[in-house]
Symmetry: C2
């Protein structure tokens, strides 16, 4: 059979991994697809730069058209990152009838619908397993493994940087700023860590997962985002004492066809499988009406895990090519998106208050909860050693978000409450 | 599009779940496949028996030919269990050009190659996701998600009954016989529990997983099996003290193309993700050279989880029918099977010895390990309160099985060793 020729856009860490697997596992890939797969061209900025894998200099180019308009190339593998320029390349490649495999979550979260529509128009595959949770095959699990079920909840630890930071803070009792600096030193966090620590990266991934899980076109702007930069070591220590770990969770829920998606630091009960996912690992918990609780765990990033997902997508494209069935994945959203309002979203909450240490304060606080019909699971009060004020921790039962916001607004106006120190969603 | 008609062989728990999903999720299934799916005929022993789901009496039959030779039926869903007779039905259905979805691990472990060969000959699909780990889509993960990688290790908690028993023994310090009786009362264990507790059920599932993971035709007879009926509460308590949980693990390894597969109670380090999989849940840990560590967790049995996997397979069959690409999954083994000999398999071991409490015993024991070049990670000795003899626990470094057998044979002949109380493989 005619060899399948791929063009790589980018040869950074992940691109290097793709070359290693395509060349290193060439015999297995051929046995599985019936075709040999060849890296035909590689787009880089500097063709003369020394590379981590040996590549024939004739294959290197700094001209995008050598790939996206090259009639020899069957599949474009995009591992260069970026959004606007990259989108242009991918749309042009599809226009030219090439299939696309991409690891680009930013692009798919922002322009997925447009790219997938172009692919459908041209009968091409666009696969993007590597865009979420690196080596975990979560996208095909949602599309194929759970095609029969109604998924009602997806909770993901989908950002390794923040999970590393929170795990370290929990294990060592360390402060956020110190662990962030250490993570930057180890290369687990960028010098500008905003996208990770403020939850934007996780929000992009949740956009992709919730669109697939709920068959509705969820947009990045639909995701409520809060990062971890305000998580204190005290919060983590209090959580631990009460049996919780703080995790940055992406939470997508569907109830009565109303969708809500958020990314926020969450108190996760120690017994929940997500609570013990530590370090740079990722995990996605999926709840389906029929299947119940499932979880998928693995490396969320890195050269070889991400390349594994990219090359698995490449195998799927090649199998489809040999069967003549590209562009037929059938994962397009078919349900009108309806977003839940605050009063339609409910969860348990953890609230830490610094209050004046005098009689009647707790009664005032619990009265406000009662007035807004938020019932309480547990209340802990104890003096703070470093502060003349007392601390109160409250864990609520399931409460709707709107009522909870009313409670917090009233706390803000209450003299005896010094500070609303922290508020977390509680899961598990 | 013409509706797709299915024939169900069996209407027990799982068959009932299949009817519930096919009828309850009919709109979603049609949106995802482009076809409506109809339960056309159901084979049962007693057509007059009252059923948990309402089914048109005209659809019930006690004649297998009404399904397997019925030209109206496109897909046969086999949920009746059994091996020889069932195999005959499935082969005949394939002969008639029908696709098959089955949950039957016994059948696939024993006759998978023959059935898959017949399917290939007739251009039919045979899918069997539900045969391993119920609701966890582990088979498509191995075939598709990790098509790009070289899997070198699969470890599975793939039997819910034994995991329930071991979890209870660990959590409550209870004895095996008591927990087994309780599990039988709850319907988690059969009245004759042999197949579960002696590891045979897990062995069948590991046959299927290792065949797919290693691309070699592993046979049930290749799996070394040891069950949990000899696991004592003392073993579990000693394990816990040293940071291990006892789990019945299916372990499939490939090293230098040499394969070994076993099912055995194993000491799993508490920090390993498999250690916290409790109760009737299943989990499969997959290690790939490129992807590294991954784990897939979910319900291992039950009406709706198992039916989820069956109907997901049905969706795949229908998608293939509409594309005209049935019988092309491409998961047939292509590697010659080479089994590892005992001296080619290595692992850490946990050994608990009852010895005479006198000077020099430990020296004699450690000398025997040294003589056979088994090095030790740790040694614990303490008097046994209920026994005048002392107890010694040894955890070895990685040791090959042949040498370990030599050590144990020599212990057997050693006067100062009263009993080799227990020997476990150690993982994590």
């Amino acid at each position: 059979m005619k060899p399948i020729k791929i063009g790589l856009l980018g040869l950074g860490t992940v691109g290097t991994g793709v070359v290693r697997i395509v060349e290193g596992h060439s015999e297995d890939l051929e046995r599985q697809t019936g075709s040999s797969i060849i890296v035909e061209k590689v787009l880089v900025q500097d063709v003369s730069k020394l590379r981590a894998v040996p590549i024939d200099p004739d294959k290197m180019t700094d001209q995008p058209d050598d790939i996206i308009r090259n009639p020899e190339i069957d599949v474009v593998v995009e591992v260069m990152g970026g959004v606007e320029q990259t989108k242009g390349y991918i749309l042009e490649a599809l226009e030219q009838g090439k299939h696309v495999v991409t690891a680009n979550k930013d692009l798919m979260a922002l322009h997925g619908p447009e790219i997938l529509a172009k692919a459908a128009e041209k009968g091409c595959d666009v696969f993007y397993e590597a865009s979420v949770a690196g080596g975990i095959p979560i996208i095909r699990t949602l599309i194929e493994g759970f095609s029969s079920d109604r998924i009602t909840k997806i909770m993901g630890i989908v950002n390794g940087t923040t999970n590393y930071i929170l795990s370290k803070m929990s294990q060592e009792g360390a402060a956020y700023a110190d662990v962030l600096k250490e993570a930057q030193g180890l290369g687990y966090a960028e010098s500008d860590p905003t996208s990770d620590v403020e939850g934007l990266d996780a929000a992009r991934k949740m956009t992709i997962l919730s669109t697939l899980g709920f068959h509705s076109e969820v947009a990045l702007a639909d995701v409520k985002v809060r990062g971890i930069s305000k998580v204190s070591k005290e919060d983590i220590q209090y959580g631990k004492k009460l049996g919780y770990e703080v995790k940055l969770l992406g939470i997508a829920e569907r109830s009565d066809d109303l969708i809500s998606v958020s990314v926020e630091p969450t108190m996760v009960k120690t017994s929940h499988p997500l609570a013990s996912v530590n370090g740079v690992f990722n995990a996605v918990y999926v709840y389906g009406e029929a299947v119940g609780e499932t979880m998928f765990y693995g490396p969320g990033a890195g050269e070889m895990p991400t390349a594994t997902s990219i090359v698995a997508d490449l195998v799927a494209v090649v199998r489809n090519m040999n069967l003549g069935v590209n562009g037929q994945r059938g994962s397009a959203p078919y349900r009108v998106k309806k977003l839940a309002a605050a009063e339609q979203i409910s969860s348990k909450y953890f609230v830490l208050l610094h209050v004046e240490d005098k009689a009647g304060v707790l009664a005032q606080i619990t009265q406000i909860f009662a007035k807004h019909e938020v019932s309480l699971e547990s209340v802990f009060q104890h003096p703070n050693e470093t502060n003349p004020k007392a601390e109160i921790i409250i864990i609520t039962h399931d409460a709707n978000q709107a009522r909870m916001n009313d409670v917090l607004a009233e706390f803000d106006r209450l003299d005896v409450i010094q500070t609303i120190k922290s508020v977390y969603r509680v899961e598990g």
